[in-house]
Symmetry: C2
Subunit: 204 residues, 2 copies
DNA sequence: ACCTTAGTAGACCAACCGGTCAACTATTTT
DNA sequence: AAAATAGTTGACCGGTTGGTCTACTAAGGT
């Protein structure tokens, strides 16, 4: 098997970067190619459409982040602390990206998903699938917290979905208003949504 | 002043419909014209760009909804009940639209805002402005609820923003997954976010 | 050395994009 | 009735879009 290439990955990386910063619709195949240093021919050698590339890009992003997520939501960490760590991590990452590109970018799954959901079944299904995987982290943390009596969550799956939705709404609002503030303060909102029992002072 | 026309409104209506159902990017000027029964020339007679049309469309939508919002959030209604009524209203409306077009459409402010926020300052500012107006309804309801001792909300504005973000995240997730369920269940999540004190059974 | 195969190159396409413009029509004021 | 104004028309523009196609090249196996 002659000749190897990292072009496929360069294309998915470029696509996700551009779509995250701008949008699915305004990210043209030409622009993706240019950023990846590829020519049209290469693009359509690896992917048969922009839609298919997007599916691959989202899955690739998930694979990149999975190990990190596993670490943040490790069962060795107290359940409620897992959320704090995760929210802190996302906050820091988005703040870092804001320095680079001037904008709070929010979550690409939500931006892209919301944009194409009524038009592109493939991308929509992919967003859905990855979304569900991420919710699983929330779900088991919630179940653990419930088992330890830290919260009252008889239906961990529903609670996880609700919290996930609230979090993504916050990320979206932060993107629209270009303001990290909401993300920084989300930990407290999360405690309310989770129904954390004891009101323990965090600091100050 | 000769000749009157309702074309301007037909154009903003058409634009919002199409952008809500699909997206900003995929809604072409041609498509807007076709739905409004206008020709390109008329479009650019009333608006100097697609971006400006969008601003007008969002403001027009706000004006259409304002009276309704005023009714739902009337100070004559007990504060927490205002939220219930509002959430019910949005749920019913989205469910109705789903019958028509097959999809849960979420909130156009979020969809459009998230899509164009990094690229179009005018539209972004408009979304921001309307967003703030809507939050005011939440804010005063929260303040009233706090005054009546129903909830503990020392910072009503922050609480309002948080609840608004959570709600929109739920609407976005409902759009992506094309599922009304989350919206139907949001009232309970809202109670958690608001920190409603007494656990009163609603029904069943 | 040469064949096979994975990957690259870039010219090319029709359709569509947002936007312009000059000519035209309908309506009200004078 | 005619002038002034508000609105309409549709041909037209250059650039871009997603996507195709054929010719090519680099590398591993034999």
């Amino acid at each position: 098997m002659p000749r190897v290439s990292d072009m496929k990955q360069r294309l998915t990386d470029a696509a996700l970067d551009l779509m995250w910063e701008n949008s699915y619709g305004t990210t043209s195949v030409d622009a993706i190619c240019e950023r990846a240093g590829a020519k049209k021919g290469s693009f359509y050698y690896f992917f048969k459409s922009k839609s298919e590339l997007t599916v691959a890009a989202l899955e690739a992003e998930w694979n990149k982040n999975k190990a990190n997520m596993d670490g943040l939501f490790s069962p060795t960490i107290p359940p409620l602390e897992r959320f704090d760590r995760y929210f802190d991590y996302v906050h820091d990452r988005l703040a870092e990206l804001q320095e680079e590109c001037g904008s709070i970018l929010g979550c690409p799954l939500l931006s892209i998903g919301s944009e194409v959901s009524t038009q592109d079944k493939g991308v929509r299904a992919t967003v859905d699938r990855i979304w569900d995987r991420k919710i699983k982290y929330f779900e088991s943390a919630i179940r653990d917290a419930h088992a330890q009596g830290l919260i009252a969550a008889p239906d961990p799956e529903a609670k996880a979905r609700a919290l996930f939705a609230c979090y993504h709404g916050t990320l979206a609002q932060a993107r629209i208003q270009n303001d990290v503030g909401l993300i920084r303060d989300f930990k407290e909102v999360a405690r309310d949504v989770l129904g954390v029992k004891q009101a323990h002072a965090t600091s100050s």
